[in-house]
């Protein structure tokens, strides 16, 4: 187990390093012009442009820039612009001159929003999605099964942003049945936090439940035809125990794989949900940064998202070994 963790750490770090190099190359080596972006279009004199370039060390060799950037992640660094020195504490992912704040700080303020959103989403897909799928699998071929599967197909063939927009428009604004999406930190008022996230959770969760219902139905149909399920029935166990204890445990394994990747992707920013429901999460941050050409923020978000992805994969592997004793973590 310890060896497994160590080995995975090494491979995880190398993945992150590759991402780091790739994003750095994308934003700083490719023919982009960070100094020009900071300088702006209107009042940008050649002198100011050169000054920015020098202050940001953009005139130095790329390798050195990369080393400075990487070192900043561990030790923090100082940025000086127009004679003012800004300290960017470790882990420093760069400094956003557009917002006049360190990137890390911006991410830190946005991350709780996205994490809250994804947590509720995870709970919904793992309960309702998997439950609906298992029920359909148990009743495979019946009218109920076909009804469930057809309705999931119908729901998931409407683009998500349309569903979310319609719900936001009709159910929270025109007919305010559901509370409007808002962000309140849970530390301030847990009730407001919950109410503000309820609608986004329901929309994102129920929409994604449709695909989870399909995954788990497929996986459960397969598991339910296993010999050991017949054995369980031969013992005299009830249908409920056979389905939700014996079959579900095996049936969950493939669902968890998809779930892990899914959660990791959403943590990198559930752009539509955040934008439509006015939640200031990572997705909106990326979107805004793209609009304003705020390269350090985009780069920082990509880096964080890649770390989250690697971490989720690691967690998925651990949960495999918890579900299936045959999986040896080596």
């Amino acid at each position: 187990m310890l060896y497994f963790v160590a080995r995975r750490m090494v491979s995880a770090l190398s993945v992150v390093l590759v991402t780091l190099i790739a994003t750095f190359a994308l934003f700083f080596v490719a023919p982009t012009d960070p100094a020009g972006a900071i300088c702006g279009e209107r009042n940008c004199t050649q002198q100011r442009y050169n000054e920015i370039k020098a202050n940001l060390h953009l005139d130095r060799p790329k390798v050195q820039q990369f080393a400075e950037y990487t070192a900043g992640i561990f030790t923090g660094r100082d940025f000086t612009t127009s004679g003012v020195t800004q300290h960017c504490a470790a882990p420093c992912l760069g400094f956003s001159f557009k917002n006049d704040r360190p990137v890390t700080e911006m991410l830190k303020s946005r991350l709780p929003v996205t994490v809250s959103l994804v947590a509720g989403y995870a709970v919904l897909v793992l309960t309702i999605g998997v439950f609906v799928g298992s029920m359909a699998a148990k009743r495979r071929g019946t009218l109920g099964d076909r009804g469930l599967m057809t309705s999931t197909l119908v729901v998931s063939s409407v683009p998500y942003y349309i569903v979310a927009l319609m719900v936001a428009l009709y159910l929270t604004i025109l007919y305010p049945i559901l509370p409007r999406g808002e962000w309140h930190p849970p530390s301030e008022n847990i009730g407001k936090w919950f109410a503000g996230l309820l609608t986004p959770w329901l929309v994102l969760g129920i929409y994604s439940c449709t695909s989870y219902a399909r995954y788990s139905r497929g996986s459960m149909v397969e598991t339910l035809s296993e010999d050991y399920i017949r054995t369980a029935r031969a013992k005299g166990l009830s249908d409920r125990v056979v389905t939700y204890k014996h079959a579900l445990r095996s049936g969950l394994i493939p669902v968890i794989t998809i779930f892990g990747l899914d959660v990791a992707t959403s943590l990198g920013g559930a752009i539509f949900t955040e934008k439509i429901f006015g939640l200031p999460g990572l997705g909106v941050l990326v979107l805004d940064s793209l609009n304003s050409y705020d390269l350090p923020v985009i780069m920082g978000t990509v880096l964080v998202a890649s770390v989250i992805l690697v971490a989720m994969n690691f967690l998925v592997d651990i949960s495999y070994s918890l579900i299936d004793p045959r999986v040896r973590l080596t």
């Binding site: 010999d227 017949r230 369980a232 029935r233 013992k235 445990r249 095996s250 299936d324 045959r326």
Partner: protein, 387 residues
């Protein structure tokens, strides 16, 4: 569900007497097949009162291509303490018929008619929640492949205690004690340690022992063993068969052994029922069926056993393939593969389904064949090839 009442015994005697007297009449033109077989069912070749009685059982699956008759007019009976071997090729209906006894078929896709009685109680048509109480308690099943039949994600101990606690309201500790006792009984060394291991940590033979421990944990009156040794090494097979034999002596349960291995039959069975294309084609005590078989299909099965003395000869398989259950041949189902059908006068083999009749005019050994001189043909042509 306890021991059958004495009346049952009397009934079966009366019926057997009736069966005998009718047997002669049947030689000309007997009663309908169904009636005959219903009578046969309650007679056990041993004459003992049976615990399991199957009468005129039919199992059908409606499919898109038509109705598949997997089992047709099957009747047999097994008394406590006796072993019936059901022999046949894949698709002959031997597993399907025992699944029906367990009530394990898919209710929506299976049509079952006839009668299955356990200790006198009818189980065909029982609702699922009643069947659940019987399954694993009065009737237990030992499956073919212990590798796939044990849940890979639960410990062996967990699976055995679960089987016990379904039918006994006891604490986990009591159930664990019982499970350890069973593991010990089936010859698994170091039960305490094995209890908390997973199936993949067991060898094939040990896994099948664990499976048997799980099956017998509730002291069932009837054990259905569906090819219990097929997935095992030859050396381990003998051990498992011995174990089943010994446990039967200890528990006194009835065993239905489903197999295609006539070696296993010879070692285990008291009675033998040979199935072909969903029908019983020969039924009698093991001695009768193995030593004096009276049906060309049984001959074919016996001839296809490889022997060491005939190691240089080619195997003698039964030519052809079993018929499709969607579309059985007219007459005797075995006729397209039967090498002896020319010896029957006229077209009887291809037009008329032979009835299951006593081979010597009376008695419990029955076969389904139009041949008149079965005994002579066997003695003159088949027996020499078998030695």
């Amino acid at each position: 569900m306890s021991t059958p009442a004495p009346e049952d015994r009397k009934d079966s005697m009366v019926e057997s007497a009736a069966g005998e007297s009718e047997a002669t009449a049947a030689a000309k033109r007997g009663p309908s097949v169904a009636t005959r077989e219903r009578r046969q069912g309650s007679i056990n070749p041993s004459g003992e009162t049976p615990y399991l009685v199957v009468e005129d059982l039919a199992v059908q699956f409606p499919t898109a291509d038509g109705l598949v008759s997997a089992v047709n007019g099957l009747s047999y009976s097994v008394p406590l303490g006796r072993t019936l071997a059901i022999v046949g090729e894949s698709g002959s209906g031997k597993s399907v018929s025992s699944m029906a006894v367990m009530g394990l078929h898919d209710r929506k896709r299976t049509r079952i008619t006839g009668s299955i009685r356990l200790g006198g109680d009818e189980i065909v048509g029982l609702p699922e929640n009643e069947l659940m109480k019987i399954r694993g308690d009065a009737v237990a099943m030992v499956f073919q492949d212990p590798q796939s039949s044990l849940h890979p994600l639960y410990t062996v101990g967990n699976q055995i205690t679960e089987a016990y606690r379904v039918h006994h309201k006891v604490s986990k500790d009591v159930a664990k004690k019982r499970a350890l006792e069973m593991l010990d009984l089936v010859g698994i060394p170091n039960p305490q340690r094995r209890f908390s291991q997973y199936p993949h940590e067991f060898s094939g033979g040990m896994r099948q022992r664990a499976m048997i421990a799980m099956g017998l944990v509730n002291d069932p009156k009837l054990v259905i063993a569906d090819e219990p040794t097929t997935a095992l090494d030859v050396t381990v097979q003998a051990q498992i068969l011995d174990l089943l034999n010994n446990l039967q002596k200890e528990f006194g349960s009835a065993i239905v052994l489903i197999t295609h291995d006539l070696g296993v039959v010879a070692e285990m069975a008291d009675d033998v029922l040979v199935m072909y294309a969903g029908r019983c084609v020969e039924y009698g005590t093991a001695e009768d069926v193995l030593a004096n078989p009276r049906m060309p299909y049984t001959w074919g099965l016996l001839e296809s056993i490889p022997t060491v003395s005939a190691a240089n000869e080619r195997l003698r398989p039964i030519k052809g393939l079993p018929p499709s259950l969607l579309n059985l041949p007219d007459g005797c189902s075995f006729n397209p593969r039967c090498p002896y059908k020319d010896r029957v006068k006229g077209e009887r083999c291809t037009t008329e389904l032979p009835e299951l009749l006593p081979v010597d005019g009376a008695g419990a050994h029955t076969a389904r064949c139009h041949l008149h001189d079965k005994a002579t043909i066997y003695a003159a042509e088949v027996a020499p090839r078998l030695s």
